[in-house]
Subunit: 123 residues, 2 copies
Amino acid sequence: MLNFYELKLNHRDPVYMQMALYVKRQILLGHAVSGDRLPSRREIAAQLSVNPNTVQKAFKLMEEEGFVRTSSTLGSVVYADEETLRRIEDELTRELVRSFVDSAKEINLSFKTVVALIGEHWD
Amino acid sequence: MLNFYELKLNHRDPVYMQMALYVKRQILLGHAVSGDRLPSRREIAAQLSVNPNTVQKAFKLMEEEGFVRTSSTLGSVVYADEETLRRIEDELTRELVRSFVDSAKEINLSFKTVVALIGEHWD
DNA sequence: CCCCTTGTACTAGAGGCATAATACAATAGA
DNA sequence: TCTATTGTATTATGCCTCTAGTACAAGGGG
């Protein structure tokens, strides 16, 4: 049973998107696999101290994106076939790198400088 | 005279923040230096096809952050002393790298993998 | 001197995000 | 069967961002 205690919310991005991203990460890391159950809307709302309606919005998004499925009164479970997993990896990895590289180039950082800076901040 | 034609707005971040970031970048790149004039609020609004009030909000922010100064009816100019320049570099460089490294670690990417991925996306 | 631009301020409204408070049908479990 | 939980839906409120429209004092240039 997945929980949301470790999810630290920021004040920049919509909460319901941060929730969906969190579940995607758990899937990508193998911490959540197909069939794994998710707590009820109300339970998650309590874990995160947010409104149940916000949680419901997150589930709506996750269902639309295809990695969570809900059967009424039986709760929601993770669903991640090959294609879904690939899509999640793409979003979380390639998209992360792409936007970072774009920003780095915007301020004229060289590849060498970028690698050096990352090296400094890695530990 | 700085212009805003090259600034491509996204639909994720507040417009007035994107505007401030754009000016910071121009300063960091040396494309804008102390004394450089900025177009009027209304002129910039036209260049970006946004509302003058939004532009005014950006100026309020930029003045608060100290890299733009306005003298009534004479328009606004860039102001960037040593300390301001350092702060901008910190925000645009170190902050960029820091948040990227954090995200990369969230999905268990190794330093080596990250460098490889960046290398792929660099060109 | 007059007009136009400028910075600044204000009200009003739309849309997205989040909260608060309910409501209800369906089902699992005692 | 009764009760508690669950997913789902609705209405209202508040905040932030952005747009739209208007207003006004101050200064520059003809």
